[in-house]
Symmetry: C2
Subunit: 147 residues, 2 copies
């Protein structure tokens, strides 16, 4: 068994910044949902796109969200996960949308549906844990983004 | 952009069966949470272990849960995700616990806390999507389990 170790805020932020894909959890009248998304971190918020008619577009706005990124190496039994929690809000301001696009616009791979809605999660809680020691957190990333 | 294609029930079940790690989403009084877990599929339910005092142990019992597994290759822009939704319940029956242990007992890597609680998710909804075509779903798994 490996010890789980809390990550520092700096480590959480670095891992969050360097990822490209994660999952959003949201509550709906018929229970929680998880939706995998592409994302980007713009300033101090997580941005992802969805369709206004999706579960995420319907119940993810103006309500609490939890967003997770992780990387686990099951053979070596080590890995990490970072969770950001906060309110989801629709970005409507034209200047803010332009700023998001200029920094990095999340481009979902999936073409189906119009993902015209930009959701922003300004986290109020950022926590993370690693399992196993003696390895490089960043090097374990499948894809690294240089911001 | 890639097309997102719904997976069949058979494909979802095969991918779910062959995974070892996923994430559970649950609703709590202060919003949704996501918790990464090791899991196993025993009969027609997902089993994972947690501590009775954790967020998952506290709010994950007798309430709706969403469980997700995925595998994405960000460079090649293809991947899949499977989501199972249903009620979480604590397994207390001694015979059922013995059956779970004999089939495959989920062994969390992390040692911290006593993960004495077995939670069972008998899904009522199993859905999945793939992005990109011309590749083998199973071969993309980091770790494959032969049940």
């Amino acid at each position: 068994m490996q010890e789980a170790i809390d990550l520092t805020q700096d480590e959480c932020r670095r891992l969050l910044d360097s990822g490209v894909g994660g999952r959003v959890a949201l509550s709906s009248p018929n229970g929680p949902h998880i939706v995998p998304v592409n994302y980007s971190v713009v300033d101090d918020a997580i941005i992802f796109r969805t369709s206004p008619y999706s579960v995420l577009g319907t119940y993810g706005r103006d309500s609490m969200l939890a967003f997770e990124v992780d990387q686990f190496d099951h053979e070596r039994q080590h890995g990490w996960s970072v969770v950001a929690r906060g309110r989801g809000e629709v970005v409507v301001d034209v200047d803010q949308l332009a700023h998001i696009r200029s920094t990095w616009e999340p481009r979902p791979w999936a073409a189906s549906g119009a993902r015209g809605l930009h959701l922003r999660l300004r986290w109020t809680e950022l926590t993370g844990r690693r399992i196993g020691v003696g390895w490089d957190l960043q090097a374990s990333l499948a894809v690294r983004r240089t911001v």
